[in-house]
Each structure stands twice: as C-alpha cells, then as structure tokens.
C-alpha cells in the first residue's frame, strides 16, 4: 500500500536527518522525499511517499507525530491528493531520431529547455505516473543523465 505523508516540521538544522533516520531505524521504506521552506520561514514541509502494510503505515504516522520537531502530519492516499513531480532528462540524439523526440515532447507536454548539436535537456512537470510513463518512452534513446524531484503533494480541496 502506498501512502503520502505531508509533514510540517520546524525549519532547523538536523531535522531532516531526524526524520529520515526514523524511517531507517524502523525499517520503513522511503520511495521519495522532498523538502522545502513554506510561506512561514520557521516551518519546512516534507512530502514523503512510503509504502507498507496498513500496520506499518499507521506506525509511521504515530512515530512521526512523536518526533518533537514535527508540527503536523497529514497523510493521504494518492487519489486523494494533487501530486506533481518534476523531471529533467539529458539525452544524446541524432538527426535520425530528433523529430521522434520532439513528437513525444508535444504529446506529453514536455519541454526542451536546452540543446546542443548532440544533446538536449527535456523538462516535464506532471503527475507521478505520467512522469513514469515519460521515462519509459525515453528509455529507447540514449539517456545521459536523469534527475527527478520526487513527489510534491497536497490534499485536494474539499
């Protein structure tokens, strides 16, 4: 079972390591983790995607709540959230496959953000599953470098 944890924490040094070591220490899986400051500079927000049995997921939430630097834990399923992920891919291309790449970009709404004669960097911001599909489509080309942010998520408005 997959679960998204949106965790507000004190914006202090060492807090990220405290939260991530909690996952390591209890053997919980982190599929992705993003951190950034919020509109309140004393608070950071972490979006953690984890998976496990319902019992594990409940324990993760309880253990997170026990951490003194954690202000609030919100947890939701993927379908309850608006989730986005950003990806950058650098690929090597030839004249023969350039138009195919451009075509894929048009369909997926990816952008070409940098090009040279042989390389280009593509950029896509979309839902995690579409990002996954996009990577699959790119695999047949020569991927030089790939970097993704991990999931950012927010519970849908009621």
């Amino acid at each position: 079972m997959k679960r998204i944890f949106s965790v507000s924490v004190e914006n202090r040094f060492g807090v990220l390591s405290k939260v991530s070591s909690l996952f390591a220490r209890r053997g919980y899986n982190i599929e992705s983790l993003t951190v950034g400051e919020t509109h309140d500079p004393t608070i950071s927000n972490m979006t953690i995607v984890s998976s496990g049995s319902p019992h594990d997921l409940e324990q993760i939430e309880k253990q997170l709540n026990k951490k003194l630097d954690v202000i609030k834990v919100r947890t939701f399923k993927e379908e309850e959230a608006v989730a986005r992920e950003l990806i950058l891919i650098k690929i090597k291309y030839q004249a023969s496959n350039r138009s195919e790449i451009i075509e894929i970009c048009q369909i997926t709404k990816a952008e070409i953000v940098d090009t040279t004669e042989s390389n280009m960097i593509l950029h896509l911001c979309d839902t995690p599953d579409r990002v996954e599909k996009f990577i699959d489509m790119m695999k047949k080309f020569n991927i030089v470098e790939l970097s993704r942010t991990g999931v950012l998520a927010m519970k849908k408005c009621k």
Partner: protein, 540 residues
C-alpha cells in the same frame, strides 16, 4: 558569567542536587563552575555508569537524573547508558562537552557526532550553538524528559560556548514548544467504554507495566483493582506494585513469570493493559492476545498502542489521571468466582527443587532475601540468570524492583544501586550481580567508597555466563562455548582491595545466616554465593 555558569544556574533552577559525571577537556568549564554551586558531583569510574547511576537515582528519588561527560570517547561511553534509560522510559538529562564550534565536522581530537549517534534512543537532543540559548534549552530538556512518555534528553555543548563570557542569568518561566503537548487526560468516551466493557466481562484482569511506576499511578491502580474486585498481574517492569498478601495480585507474567499468572491472562475475557508495551518477553505471541478476549490498552504514548497488539479499546493518557477517573464511577461488578478460581491456581505453586549441600540455591536465596524486605528498600538486579532468579522468585513484601528490563544491559546493577542509594539514602538498596556482570561494573566499587554510601552487594558466582549456557542448552544442543569465566578474580580479595566487608555463602544451609549478615549494619557488604555451574533458572 560564562556559558558553564548558565548551565549550573539552570540546573539549580531545576532543583538538581546531584550530578553524575566524568571530566575531560571539553567539559572542564562545567566542573570549574560546579565548585561555585551546592550541587554535589559524583565522580564515576566509567561514563556509562554516570548514566546508570542517574537512572538508579531517578528510580529511587523520582527526580530527573543528570549525567555529564566530555566529548568524543567520554560521550560515546555514555551511549549504552542513555539507550538503557530510553528502553525503560527513564528521564535523564545527559550533558556532553563538544569540541570548539568552529572545529565541529573536522574530525578533531576527541570529536564525535554524539547527537547523530544517539538519535534513535533519545527523546530529544540539542546541539547548543549560542550560550544565550542555554537556560531555555535546559528548561525544555527537563520538561521533555519528565513529562509525557519520559525519556533521556541529550544536550551537547561545544567548549567555546561553555567558555563564552558576558551573560546575565535569566531563567524562563515557561516552556514554549508548539510541537510537544502530550495527552494526559484520557478521553471520557473511551473511559466510559472501559466501564461498559467491565459490565459485560466475566473474567477481567489488569496487567500493570513499568508505566504505572513512571506515572506514579500505583495507588490509583490498586484502588481500582480493589474497588471493582478485578485481579491483576504484573510485567517485569511493574514488579513491586502488587504485594504478595494482596489476594487480587496473581503474580508476574511472561516467559519468566509464574505459570498461574500466564494461565490467568489466557483465561481472561477482558485484559486491561496499563503502561506496558505488550512485548515478546511478557506475552509470547502479542498478535494472538486479542483472539479470545477484549483488549483495553491504556498508555501515555499513542505509538505504543496497537504497535504489538491491536486493542479493542485504546485509551491515550496518563495512567494516574485515567485511573483516578475510572475510580469515580459508581458501578459495581461481581467477579468473585473468577478471583476464587485464580487464587486456587496460586495454591498449586510448585515446591523448590531438590537441594544439594554443595551449593546455594539461588531461587531460595532470592525468595528468602526478598521476604525479609518489608521496610523501604529496593532490589536492583543485573542482567542474566540473576535477573531471572530475582524476578521469578521475588517475594513482594514492600521492596521495589529495579532492573534494566527493556535494554537488558549487563553491568547495570551496581551503578544503578549506587545511584538509587544516593537518590534516597533512607532506602535499603540490594544489588544482585552475576560474576560476569560484576566484572563489568566492578570499578564502581571505588565510586561507592568515595561517596561513602552503603549498598548490599550479592554476587551469584557460578563461574560462567549462566544465561548464555542455558540458552546454548535450549537452542544449540548443549554446545557450551564462550561462557566459562575461568580467570575470575577471588572476590574476597577484590572486597579486601576496596576495603569492603565480605562473606561467602557456600551451601544452602548457610543461606539464612548469610542473609542476616548481609542486611546487618550500615556498611557496604559483599556476599558471594557459591552457585552450581549447571544450575538453570527454569523449574526442576
């Protein structure tokens, strides 16, 4: 004043009268300023024992234990003691010196990332970067350590912060922690559910754990048991609350507990777990415990509820508060038949095994010793066979029972006993040790002499690591290896070296006489028991 003075002044504000510590370059400013205070410093012989002594100090005095050590090896030596306290939810404030702020991260002489190393077994930790923060940090540390689910808090202070001059001392009146607000009051709907459930139950039982001692709820729970006529059992950590003359007290549960207490749990249709984590040592298969009964779990820590066994009625709150409310209901129940049945099991208690003249029977020794402790006293056990002998044969007549239950840390008994005695000088403290553990903690005999405290020390000498031997008997087809302690010192000579009274108990016939001798007088005494190498803790 400087940072070190701010630390001392803050400790004074927290009514600290004793600290346990060991010096080193990075923490020297602290000891320098300690001379200006009335706080008594106990110089231990190894840093781990500073934490164990602070642990024992809390358990006999109820006051947060404070231990202090230097950076690097001084700090890492504390780790085992901090982890021991964490596993039993014991409130400690551990203060470590650190290398100069500007050098942190450069792998300097005696530098260790102690905050990082302790992360998973402290309740909270601080690395202080500005001396101005010291009073706030110490105020918060004591608050965090001693409220909610108690536990150790670590404060790491670089030496330059301790030496920074030019501060006025001002102690904050309140703590302001937006992320920390433990739930103390149990939810009234949940509490009412307990009463309703008891109305339906035919054979309810209470299991009391270490949390009962930590919240000081012993009186309230005994009242609850008496008022509604509900029998109770204890875990290892709850020993000492139930007295043997209480017909509602059935005994200790668990793989080292009594058969009838375990039988009682199995036959109960409603189990109220109070301040226990339902872990493997108390309950063989925690996940199966709910099979034929309603499980009510009351704990201050929401993460503990449902961790090992899913409760039907969870109640988050401080046990003292929850049971005070539970005692206010007018309901009455009739569990007379159930209580009678349990008490009939108690009568079947098996007799001690056959005796031989050659050795002391450790089971009988513990039973005889503890049945005499009717005044204010505490048994402090170590880990190994002595712990099992102690808990399985403990006669609860008034003594408290102090042990490293969660972490199972060898070498705990002697330092914890010293701390317990310092925390409450009127209490009679008896330290039980195996010959293995004694060699781990022996250096503290020196601390004991320096402090002039009186601890009654028992050494169960079977010239082996008996618990390991027993384990190898059960699990490794009697392949006894790595457990013989053939280079043991003559404990008589050790006692002499430290100028401590000594006696050996050679056979079971001398047991009573030797206990008389041990408990007599106001001085520290060492009683060595000649225990059979092949003696096992299990029956028969």
């Amino acid at each position: 004043m400087n940072g070190a003075s701010l630390v001392i002044k803050s400790l004074e504000q927290e009514n600290v009268s004793v600290i346990f510590g060991y010096p080193g370059v990075s923490i020297c400013p602290f000891f320098d300023k300690l001379t200006e205070s009335n706080i008594h410093g106990v110089l231990v012989r190894h840093e781990v024992n500073a934490a164990h002594e602070a642990n024992g100090y809390f358990r006999s005095s109820g006051k947060v234990g404070v231990c202090v050590s230097s950076s690097g090896p001084g700090a890492t030596n504390l780790i085992t003691g901090i982890a021991t306290a964490f596993a039993d939810s014991i409130p400690l404030v551990a203060i470590t010196g650190q290398v100069k702020s500007e050098h942190i991260g450069s792998d300097l002489f005696q530098e260790a990332d102690i905050v990082g190393a302790c992360e998973s077994f402290v309740k909270y930790s601080y690395l202080v970067k500005d001396a101005a923060d010291i009073p706030r940090v110490i105020k918060e540390a004591f608050h965090i350590a001693s409220t909610g689910r108690k536990g150790p808090v670590l404060i790491d202070i670089p030496v330059d912060v301790l030496l920074e001059e030019g501060y006025e001392f001002e102690y904050p009146d309140n703590v302001n922690l937006r992320t920390y607000k433990p739930t103390l009051k149990g939810h009234s709907v949940q509490i009412k559910k307990i009463i309703n459930e008891l109305g339906k139950a035919k054979s309810p039982i209470i299991m009391i754990g270490g949390g009962v001692k930590l919240s000081g709820a012993g009186y309230e729970i005994l009242e609850f048991s008496k008022k509604y006529n509900i029998p109770f059992v204890s875990t290892l950590m709850g020993l000492g609350i139930g007295k043997d003359d209480n017909p509602l007290y059935i005994g200790m549960v668990g793989n080292n507990g009594s058969k009838f207490a375990n039988k009682a749990i199995n036959e109960a249709d409603c189990l109220i777990v109070a301040g226990a984590r339902v872990a493997d040592r108390a309950v063989k298969q925690p996940d199966l415990i709910t099979k034929n009964k309603t499980l009510i779990h009351i704990d201050i820590d929401p993460a503990e509820i449902g961790k090992n066994a899913g409760p039907n009625i969870p109640v988050v709150g401080d046990l003292k508060e929850v049971f005070t409310v539970l005692n206010e209901f007018d309901e009455s129940f009739d569990f007379t038949d159930w209580c009678k049945r349990l008490n009939s099991y108690k009568l079947t208690k098996s007799n001690m095994a056959e005796k031989t003249n050659l050795y002391v029977d450790p089971k009988e020794f513990v039973a005889s010793l503890t049945s005499r402790l009717k005044d204010e006293s505490a048994i402090v056990t170590d880990v190994g066979q002595n712990q099992i002998y102690a808990c399985s044969n403990f006669v609860s007549e008034g003594a408290d029972f102090i042990t490293s239950g969660g972490f199972g840390c060898m070498g705990f008994s002697l330092p914890a006993a010293i701390g317990a005695k310092i925390g409450n000088p009127n209490k009679r403290i008896i330290s039980l040790n195996g010959d293995g553990a004694m060699q781990m903690s022996m250096c503290e005999l020196s601390t004991l002499k320096q402090e002039g405290v009186n601890v009654k020390i028992v050494i169960f000498n079977n010239k082996a690591l008996g618990m390991i031997k027993e384990y190898q008997h059960v699990k490794y087809n009697n392949n006894y290896t790595f457990n013989e302690l053939n280079g043991l010192p003559k404990f008589e000579m050790i006692a002499k070296a430290y100028d401590i009274e000594y006696k050996e108990c050679k056979s079971y016939k001398e047991t009573e006489k030797c206990i008389d001798w041990l408990l007599d007088g106001d001085d520290t005494r060492i009683l060595e028991l000649n225990v059979d190498r092949d003696a096992f803790t299990t029956a028969g």
